[in-house]
Amino acid sequence: MIIRWALLILGGVLLGGIVHLATVIILPRTATQDAYARLTPIAPVNTVVALPAPTPEKAAMPFMDPAFASAVCRYDLSQGPLKLTVPVSPGYTSVSFYTRYDVAYYAINDRAAGRRIIELDLMTTAQHDQVPEDEEVTAADRLIVESPTLTGLIAIRALAPEPGLMRVAESTVAASKCSTQQPEPPRPPPRPLEPPRPRK
């Protein structure tokens, strides 16, 4: 009798371990209050939306850095690659890329970009494969980032090193843009030269 109960408990605990691992793995896919879900109602797709500065009463997300002005672009690459331009503020500017499940897969800051403007193309691996090779060579300074998922978030953030510089930081993130590139219309094939008409 005791052995029977001990076995039942042991089996329950083992099964419990599986339940634990399964719930931990499934949780990000079922969470209804993760960052992406919180931003969905305020951030339309493929547009940069400035986030209000966090206050004790209200914040778009928990643990936002109050020294930063921030904006997000919730992207969807199903219509084609995305073009992102972010001007650089005098303080510190960074752009971070997250998948639909809030996993950070890439980030770049103003110093790494090395220019007055951070400019890059976001596309899926499949879309990257379709970029003609010669185009990639001619645009050698074009930065291409590959997104592991079709949808996700781009967080654009500019630091106000002191409170007086918050305006500058806010205007920096407000001036950034993200938009889907219109796929270029296929060029009509060159018309074959007409054979010279025989003169009469």
């Binding site: 029977r4 039942l8 408990i9 089996g11 329950g12 605990v13 083992l14 099964l15 419990g16 371990g17 599986i18 339940v19 634990h20 691992l21 399964a22 719930t23 931990v24 793995i25 949780l27 990000p28 969470a31 209050q33 993760d34 960052a35 879900a37 919180r38 966090p54 206050t55 004790p56 914040a59 997300m61 928990p62 643990f63 850095d65 109050p66 020294a67 303080g91 510190y92 960074s94 971070s96 890329f97 997250y98 499940y101 809030d102 996993v103 950070a104 897969y105 890439y106 980030a107 770049i108 800051n109 110093r111 592991p148 978030l153 967080a155 953030r157 630091l159 106000a160 090193p161 002191e162």
Partner: protein
């Protein structure tokens, strides 16, 4: 009948153990795989695609966006160097220097990640706002009442967390605790 009862009992144990473990590991911090330096803890991998399932689940549950690698690293502190939980009614001194970074910010949150209301609307400091000694070290007094120097108000809340974020820094996934990463000391000075 006995078989049915036994099976139900086993399944109940499984559900209790499984969900209990999940809840506990997500609310009491994913303490493993972190980078702990003195009382500060960071999860540099949470800003990469190598983030483990526990970190991912914790991020999804809290609803925050992790600081991405290449942007910076954030260190969280919930107790002082003696292991005493940070208490907003006490005077806590954060002193010393930070690892090399282009900028850093120190912010105060309640355990849910919201800023804490206070009369001066100060929620944190940036590395440029801090008054320092000639050797570059600083003291930040985290206290409910005004203090001279760098005063970070707590609003008198019972529990809070400090988050030190280093931006554009070499501290990252391969960092080990040591002399290259000097984190500020944290001491509770006086409690009412």
């Amino acid at each position: 009948m006995r078989l049915l009862f036994g099976t139900l009992f086993g399944l109940a144990v499984a559900a209790g153990v499984g969900l209990g473990l999940t809840y506990y590991s997500l609310t009491h911090g994913t303490a493993f795989a972190g980078l702990s330096i003195e009382s500060w803890t960071a999860w540099p991998k949470s800003g990469t695609t190598d983030a483990d399932p526990y970190v991912r689940a914790s991020i999804a549950r809290t609803g925050r966006l992790p600081t991405a690698m290449g942007d910076g690293v954030s260190f969280t502190l919930s107790s002082d160097d003696d292991g005493k939980a940070l208490d907003g009614r006490c005077e806590v001194v954060v002193s010393g220097i930070t690892p090399t970074a282009r900028f850093w910010t120190l912010s105060l949150y309640n355990p849910d990640g919201a800023l804490v209301a206070n009369s001066t609307n100060r929620y944190g400091f940036t590395s440029q706002e801090i008054v320092r000694r000639s050797d570059g070290s600083f003291d930040i007094v985290v206290a409910p009442r005004a203090n001279p120097g760098n005063w970070l108000p707590t609003g008198g809340v019972e529990r809070y967390e400090l988050v030190l974020r280093l931006y554009d820094t070499a501290v990252g996934v391969s960092t080990k605790a040591g002399r290259e990463v000097p984190m500020p000391d944290v001491a509770t000075r006086s409690c009412p």
